[in-house]
Symmetry: C2
Subunit: 344 residues, 2 copies
DNA sequence: CTGAAAGCGCTTACAG
DNA sequence: CTGAAAGCGCTTACAG
C-alpha cells in the first residue's frame, strides 16, 4: 500500500534496470561495475535520495560498523570529554558510536553485559574507573559473557581486569607528582582528598600520595588522607571534617583533590572558614575542566587529555591488540598553589 | 561452522522443542502461551543466556524502539543535561536513545537528514538552538526530507520551523526578567552580552532585553548590547571590547550574559581590570551549570531545568502531538548581583 | 494455545 | 561485468 514511500534497494534496481546485486555493489563502491551502469545507478540513487538501511546492512553483513562506549554519566565533563574524543575518532574510522550511560547498566534485574549484547556492535569501550569493587564479581562474569559477542576495551586501572585490553591513567603517578610539586613549593602538611577506600591496586591515588611523602621523607599523617566521592559537595564535606578534627596549627597547608570538582568544593569550604586562597591553602585538582581556569584562584590541575584517551581507546578497539597502556597527563600550573607561607 | 557460538531464536526453539513463533511470543511477553511451554522456553533462554538481536528485531518489526537526539556538542554541560534527561526518559519508556553530535551533521558532502535516515529510528529530537540562520534553507529541506522517515521534535525557538512539534525556552522572557531583576537592584546601566546577530524572532534575548529597558523607562544604549559566542573566552573578549569603547563613568554596572560560560568570562575580565565583584559589576548568567555556585562570587543565574526539558521532548516525540510549548525556568539568586553602588 | 511461512532490506558466495 | 538465490534473525499475519 505504502508503495509511494517505499525506497529500498529493489526500487533503485527496478528503476535503474539492474539487479539489486549491482546496486549493492555501487553502494559499497565495489570495483567490478562498468562506468556506465554505475553512473546510471548513481543517478537513480541521487534522484530518489536513497540511503541503504543501516539496520538491514547490519543484519545481512557481518559487521554493523557501530561501536559502543559505556560511561558512568555525561554530566561530569570529564566523561563528556572522553566520549567526544571516542566519538570523533570512531567517525573518522567510519564507525558510529553508541553511548551507554553506566547508570543503565546498574538497573535492577538487567544483566548489563547482555543488554549490550542485544545490540550487535563491532566493539565496546567500557569505563571501569571508580567502579565499586563490590561489583567486581558480577562485573567479571558480565564481561566474560559480553566478550563472546564483541571485542572489549577497558578504560581505567582495575588489575583484576588486566586480561582485557586496557588504557588507563596511572593515578598513583599523578598523585605522586602532585606531592612532589607541593613539596617543591615548601609544603609539608599535605592532605589528600579522594581515592576509593575499597580500591586495591598499585595505581591508586593514595599509593602515589604515600610514595610521594616517603620520597620527600615527610611523615605520613593519616588524618590528612580522606576519601570522598567525586563531587564538589563531597569535597566540601571532606575538607570540613578534616579541619574540624584538627587543631588549627595542624591544618594542612595544601590539599590534593580527587578531581577539579572536589577541588572546587575544597576552595569553597576553605573560603567559608576565612582561609586565604592560595596563601593559607594551596589546592591542586585533576581533570582540567573548562571552568577550572575561571575559579578563584584559578585552579592548578592535571590535564589528562581525555579526548585523546577516548580516541586512543577506539584505535585500540579497532586494532584488536591486547595491549595495556598508560595515558599521558601533564601538570597545568595556575594560581591555586603557591609557596607555603611557613617556609618563606 | 561456528555452531558453538550460534545463539539465535532457532537454537532456543530447537532446544525447547517448540517453534520460533512460540519463542518469539514468550520473548515479547505475549498472552497466548501456556504456562508450561512458557516456563520451558524461559528456562532455555536463561541457561543459554539468550538475547534477541535488536537489529533483527528492528528489521522484522516495524518499530526499532530506538530514538535519536541531535545536539551540538556534549562538552557544554548545558547539552549534556538535556541529553541525560532525554536518555533517562527514553529508557523509562522502553526506548534506547542514540546521540548524534551536531558536528557530524555539518560534514562536507553528507546530507544530515539522510545520515539520520540511514538508521531507522522511531523518532528524533533535534536541537536547533544557536543554529546559524545562514543554514536555514538547507536545514528546512533536510528536515522536510527526514520527516518522511520518522517523527521529529525540535528544541529551540526558530519561528520558521514552528510547523514542527517544538519545545523551547523563551529567551526573551528570561532576558526581560534579568533586566527587571537588575533594575530592582537599582541598576540603570545594564549591558547584555549574548544573542545571535543573524537571529530574527520574537524570542530573541535582545528583544527581551530591550523590552525590559523600555518597561523600566531606561534609555537604550546600543553600546551596551554586544553579541558573542557562548564560551568564556568570547565573554572575556566581548566585555573587554565594550569597556574599551567607553569612558569609565559610562561603564555598565551590570551585565546579563548569554550563559554561565560567558558570565564566567565576564567575571574574569572584570577582575583583570580591577573591578570589585559584585560591587562594581553585577553579573547574571543563564543555565545554572554545576560550577556556577563555585565561582567567585557565586553566580546568579537562571535554572532552565534542562533535564526536564529533555524528558519532555521525549514525551512529546512519543505522543505524536504537534504542540509548541515553552519550557520553564527560574531565577537562582546567588552572590554575583548586588544593589548598584550608585543607587545606595 | 501453537506452528509454517512470508517478509523486513540488505550482503555475499556462486554462476555465468 | 552482471544477476539469481540464499541467508542474516527476527516478527507477524494466517491457519489450525
Amino acid at each position: 500500500m505504502k508503495k509511494a514511500s517505499s525506497n529500498t534497494i529493489y526500487d533503485i534496481a527496478a528503476e535503474a534496470g539492474v539487479s539489486i546485486t549491482t546496486v549493492s555493489r555501487v553502494l559499497r563502491g565495489e570495483e567490478k561495475v562498468s562506468p556506465h551502469t554505475k553512473e546510471k545507478v548513481e543517478a537513480v540513487i541521487a534522484r530518489r535520495n536513497y540511503r541503504p538501511s543501516s539496520i538491514a546492512r547490519g543484519m545481512a553483513g557481518q559487521a554493523t560498523h557501530s561501536l559502543g562506549i559505556v560511561l558512568p554519566k555525561l554530566l561530569n565533563p570529564y566523561y563528556a570529554m572522553i566520549f567526544t574524543g571516542a566519538y570523533d575518532q570512531a567517525r573518522k574510522m567510519g564507525y558510529s558510536m553508541n553511548l551507554f550511560p553506566w547508570k543503565s547498566l546498574d538497573g535492577q534485574n538487567t544483566n548489563p553485559a547482555l543488554m549490550l549484547a542485544e545490540r550487535r556492535l563491532d566493539g565496546i569501550i567500557i569505563n571501569v574507573e571508580y567502579l565499586p569493587m563490590a561489583q567486581n564479581e558480577k562485573l567479571l562474569a558480565d564481561l566474560r559473557e559480553l566478550r563472546q559477542y564483541m571485542p572489549i576495551v577497558l578504560i581505567g586501572a582495575v588489575p583484576s581486569l588486566f586480561s582485557y585490553p586496557t588504557i588507563f591513567y596511572d593515578m598513583a603517578g599523578i598523585a605522586k607528582e602532585a606531592v612532589s610539586y607541593l613539596v617543591s613549593l615548601g609544603h609539608e602538611r599535605i592532605a589528600m582528598i579522594g581515592g576509593m577506600e575499597d580500591d586495591h591496586d598499585e595505581f591508586r591515588r593514595d599509593m602515589g600520595y604515600l610514595a610521594g611523602l616517603k620520597e620527600a621523607r615527610l611523615p605520613c599523617v593519616s588524618t590528612y588522607l580522606s576519601y570522598c566521592a567525586g563531587t564538589a559537595e563531597a569535597g566540601e564535606k571532606a575538607l570540613s571534617e578534616m579541619l574540624d578534627s584538627l587543631q588549627r596549627p595542624y591544618w594542612p597547608t595544601a590539599v590534593i583533590a580527587l578531581n577539579d570538582m572536589v577541588a572546587m568544593g575544597c576552595q569553597a569550604e576553605a573560603r567559608r572558614r576565612g582561609l586565604r586562597l592560595p596563601e593559607d591553602l594551596s589546592v591542586i585538582g585533576c581533570d582540567n575542566l573548562f571552568c577550572s581556569p575561571y575559579l578563584t584562584p584559578s585552579l592548578t590541575t592535571f590535564d589528562l587529555e581525555q579526548q585523546q584517551l577516548g580516541a586512543r581507546a577506539v584505535d585500540l578497539l579497532l586494532s584488536g591488540d591486547a595491549l595495556r597502556e598508560k595515558a599521558d597527563w601533564k601538570l597545568v600550573e595556575r594560581d591555586s598553589c603557591c609557596r607555603c607561607a611557613e617556609s618563606r
